[in-house]
């Protein structure tokens, strides 16, 4: 059941890089109900500018009552969040959306790019717990080492091996996550779970299609309400028409979406 919690206490704020922050919030209701791939809508300030809430993936839950978000400062809303202090409260709605399907029978491969890595940590944790036979493969990409290293750390702490890719080669493979993927051996059935920038997800989708691997993607679109009321957050469907990222997604079976090669 989604919650609307006016006063969700910030218990911790960590600055991971120049512009990437991790925020821990306390909410038994949200933390205990959350599934990997779900998100929260946060009001970043008390005034009317910025007006709308901002969506953030739940990147981790702990001790049954805390949940974390990982965010990058890109505009006014995230900048206000970065200036919050521990002990302050935020208005949060969540958990929202569908979340990833966890298929323990399959080989699981998690592919994340940039801030799209956020929900995958929660997913990796759940998988490690549920699917004890095979730990998931993890492929993470970002612009450079500075950005990627702190995000990889949490996965390593879970005991997972991470294949890294950076645009500038400063960490792991010099190139895209798909450059890593094509060198991996997938013994079918494989389920690839992806979150990242659209061009990356497009590339991974086509890769999976070619290799006949399962692929689920978490879509980021502009959102006004996050709860299926405004119809603003659409993603085009392969069969025509649109789905709503907030209520039908944000996680979709990649085959069901319409992908454009740019």
């Amino acid at each position: 059941m989604t919650q609307f919690q006016e006063k969700t206490a910030i218990t911790r704020i960590e600055r991971l890089t120049d512009d990437i922050f991790r925020m821990t919030l306390e909410s038994y209701e949200i933390a205990s109900a959350a599934k990997p791939g779900q998100f929260v809508m946060i009001r970043t300030g008390s005034g009317k500018d910025p007006l709308l809430r901002r969506p953030f993936s739940i990147s981790q839950v702990s001790n049954g009552k805390y949940f974390q978000i990982l965010f990058k400062v890109i505009g006014r809303g995230t900048s206000l969040l970065a200036h919050c202090r521990e002990g302050e409260s935020l208005s949060v709605i969540g958990p929202l959306g569908s979340g990833f399907h966890i298929k323990c029978g399959a080989t699981n491969c998690l592919v994340g790019g940039g801030m799209g890595i956020a929900p995958l940590l929660f997913l990796a944790k759940s998988m490690s717990r549920k699917c004890t036979v095979k730990p998931p493969l993890v492929v993470l990409g970002a612009r450079n080492k500075e950005e990627l290293a702190p995000l990889i750390k949490d996965f390593k702490e879970l005991g997972l091996h991470v294949h890294a890719a950076t645009d500038d080669g400063s960490l792991g493979t010099h190139g895209l996550v798909t450059d890593v993927l094509k060198d991996l051996d997938f013994d079918s059935p494989t389920e690839v779970s992806v979150c990242g920038p659209t061009p990356m997800m497009t590339a991974v989708h086509f890769f999976c299609k070619e290799k006949n691997l399962g692929c689920q993607v978490s879509m980021e679109t502009a959102m006004a309400c996050g709860i299926g009321a405004c119809l603003g957050c659409i993603v085009p469907l392969a069969e025509g028409g649109y789905a709503h990222a907030c209520s039908d997604g944000p996680v979709f079976d990649a085959k069901e979406l319409l992908w454009q090669i740019r």
Binding site: M1, T2, Q3, F4, R43, K48, D49, P50, L51, L52, R53, S91, I93, T221, A222, M223, A224, C225, I227, G228, A229, C230, L231, G232, C233, I234, V235, P236, G240, G241, Y242, S247
Partner: protein, 308 residues
Amino acid sequence: MANSLTADLQVSIGSLKLKNPVMTASGTFGYAREFEPYVNLHRLGAVVVKGISLQPRMGNPPPRIVETSCGMLNAIGLENVGVERFITEKMVSLQDINVPVLVNILGDSLGEYREIAKRLNGVPGIAGIEVNISCPNVKKGGVAFGTVPEMAAAVTGAVKEESSVPVLVKLSPNVTDITVIAKAVEEAGADGISLINTLIGMAIDYKSRRPKIANVIGGLSGPAIKPVALRMVYQVSQVVSIPVIGIGGIETYEDVLEFMLAGATAVQIGTANFVNPRASEEAVEGLDHYVNEQKISSIRDIIGGLVL
């Protein structure tokens, strides 16, 4: 906040009796059920559901929405399931929510408005019709029905003829003189006037040099437009004798009071539902508290009570 509502908050719009003046605005409250986790729906005066057309509409391509200073632009493109599926799928689940449901309708010809009204007539659970006349009349070169008094009156008349429930007409604010349109729809038989719909606006991303919404232009809503809405409610209340329903940037009970002082009999909360999903219920609670605390005998005493 009082847990049980005690003040006299009742208002009526034609034969429609509302337990309080707070409704939700079309397109901002889904089909009401989306808000069940947050709001006790039966506490509201009424809910107005997303605009319904004769045929299903897919709506506009993305991006459809963008935030602006104290507001947002939307060009949803009137995505909806069409009147048939609305009746069979949506209306069924709305029948037992214990709050009057108003159905917002739209069309691109006079005939289409008439058809929808006819189809909805007699469907159980529909307490009233709200006619969105901001849509372009495709037969008249795309001029919006709501910008020409004769066209606005014609739509009103057609829907009235087919409806046995009260008919509200929702005006477009993108006109030179809102009072002319208001008088035209009153004469054509409207039971109430809802205003305002969104202002037409636009946003550009200077980096990509592209419009921020795919449809190029969209509808501006939210606190930014409240002063324009309040002015139009005031102007229209002076010239019509049917109830006016104020809409535009309303979030709190204070906003509701301002619109009622300007002359509104009831109000609708729109964009604020996205910011605070409990806004509508909190406004009711706030009004209840205010009327009690100020020892006002009825909220109706506030209507048009502006002191000049």
